[in-house]
């Protein structure tokens, strides 16, 4: 609502009856209460996770969530990083799950950055306007494929193909999951890249061409540098999506709760752990609270990633406006 409108309405309001005014006010507050739902939800998610995590720290101890020190037969203490909350001597190391999440999300981000940016450049700079009009909805439709379907494809086809190609030590592994993740991240990175490139003003392209640059030189030296912050925001958001994704990792990663840095081994991510264990955990047990700690770590890390992307995009918008 701009100033003009407000002024107009205040003059106008004086003329209408009081009853009508009250009705208008009531309608306004009705809409406002509805819009408070988003604040209420995000706050209660945060408070809820915080409260349950606090209970976990109280009952288990913060140190346990990093690693557990056990004494080996030789007498030396050794820290192990394992997630075995149901064993006799429960272990709650989130480190192994964190590494698991990164082991799938980082390769997925690399792959989707490569392909996603290429598709974005193609759509924005190379494709004719007609093929762009066809391909853009197709990308959107790909982004709408349910993740459980990708997980299923990875199990039914992907696992066999990769087994024959690479002979990994585990049939289901981090690499397989990250290929699956990149299928959902590529459309995201591609459409955000396309958006960022299209927001580069056309004058810059024209100026570059008039200086004798060809298409690739223009893309490489003018458009990509101008849109670089948009591209990095796209990659960060793709990474956030990959970290937060559940079904693909749950189905394709093998779910072994060992700390590993080998991409061809079975591992387990934070999201998959919550998904696999929440249904069986007994209410208000230590294990139950521990799952909320994972939820808290996930929530905070995606929150920070989104915040960074948002800040970068805001900066870019300001720069492009001036």
């Amino acid at each position: 609502m701009n100033v003009k409108e407000e002024e107009f309405i205040s003059q106008y309001s004086a003329a209408v009856s009081k009853k009508k005014l009250i009705k208008e006010k009531l309608i306004k507050y009705f809409f406002m209460i509805n819009s408070l739902a988003a604040i209420f939800l995000i706050l209660s998610i945060f408070i809820f996770l915080l409260y349950e995590s606090y209970r976990a720290f109280e009952q288990i101890g913060i140190g346990e969530f990093i690693g557990k020190e056990i004494s080996t037969p030789g007498g030396t203490a050794k820290t192990i990083y394992q997630w075995y909350p149901t064993s006799e001597e429960p272990r709650y190391s989130i480190i192994s799950l964190l590494v698991g999440s990164l082991l799938t999300a980082l390769p997925a981000t690399l792959i989707s950055a490569l392909f996603g940016i290429a598709v974005g450049i193609y759509l924005s700079e190379i494709a004719s306007s007609r093929s762009r009009e066809i391909l853009k909805p197709v990308i959107e439709i790909f982004a709408g494929i349910p993740t459980v379907v990708i997980g299923f494809i990875m199990l039914a086809i992907g696992a066999t193909v990769f087994n024959d190609l690479f002979h990994p030590p585990n049939r289901l592994n981090a690499f397989l999951a990250s290929i699956g993740l990149s299928i959902i991240c590529i459309p995201i990175v591609a459409s955000l890249t396309e958006e960022a490139l299209r927001s580069v003003p056309n004058e810059l392209r024209m100026a570059s061409y008039s200086l004798g640059a060809n298409k690739w030189q223009t893309i490489k030296n003018v458009i990509l540098p101008a849109a670089i912050s948009g591209l990095s925001a796209a990659i960060i958001l793709g990474f956030g999506r990959a970290v937060g994704e559940t079904m693909i990792v749950l189905m394709a990663s093998g779910n072994a709760a060992e700390l590993t840095f080998n991409i061809f081994r079975s591992m387990r991510s934070m999201t998959a752990t919550i998904a696999a264990e929440m249904g069986e955990v007994s209410f208000e047990s230590n294990h139950y609270y521990a799952l909320f700690v994972i939820g808290m770590v996930l929530f905070v890390s995606t929150f920070i990633l989104n915040l960074i992307a948002e800040l970068i995009l805001n900066k870019m918008r300001k720069k492009l406006r001036s």
Binding site: A38, I45, T147, V148, T246, L250, I274, L298
Partner: protein, 323 residues
Amino acid sequence: MSDIKDKLGMKSKQLGGIAAIGSIKSLTLIIFLVLFLILGKIFVEGIEVINWDFLIDSPRNNMTEGGIGPAIFGTIAVSILMLLFAVPIGVFSAIYLNEYATDNLLTRLIRASVNNLAGTPSIVIGLFGFGFFILVVGKSIDHILQTGLLFGQPAMLWASATLAVLILPTIIVTTLEALNSIPYSQRAAAYGLGATKWQTIKYVVIPQAKPGILTGVILSLSRGTGEIAPILFLGCAFFLPELPIAQINMGLFSIPMINPTDQFMHLAYHIFILATQSTNPALTMPIQYGTTLILIMITLLLNLAAIIYRYKFRKTLEITGKG
């Protein structure tokens, strides 16, 4: 001599450019090819098992035979309930944000919350749904109404409420876009005719923004139908012999109604269970492909409908924008 060098340099630069653009094109081609191959494979394998019986039958013989009728029913029921929760709240919030709100702290907070909600991992929303809806809200309802253990357990009601939280940001953002694209001149004309703010919204803004709002609703329906992670532990059942239907007694006759306090089967959960936890995955492979094809067809058709509606919306805007 230097002339030749320059020319050679130009040539190699041009060649490099052609190579770069060529590789961009081929990377794009690879992605589209891979995705079409995946969809094609699902279609070819899935279409073989799909027939009328497959769509309405219950699973039989330890899930190795029979159909997916209850799963289709459960998916539709959950999605309808989800929309009932999310659409009013989402559309009303967007109307407030676009039509009423001034740029103050509250508005900025609401917008930031919507953005954050959109970025929250779905499994975290599921965790919240489990802890908040079932253990806090459900248990309280049970306590107040003295219903024993009816609401305080995983059920369709809470699954759809959780999915509603998931799709709420999508609905708000798309509705905002639709409302925002209605030119201000339209509103000014309504005010000029003596309409109040609410009359303007009701008779001028919303009718024009309708196709745009519908686009958002369909898109979020498609997202909610395919998303299973948040409701894995919120009432999805491996196998239910009976549909979650309750007969509401109206004296002379009874009306069958979806029973929101029941557990349910779900297409996406069915795929997940058959692919990872069945005793013989190879035996159920045809059913897995069939179920996947049905789920994909539902989400793709919804997406297609959304794209068509958006196209229509843009056409309307072109007309009103000129007028």
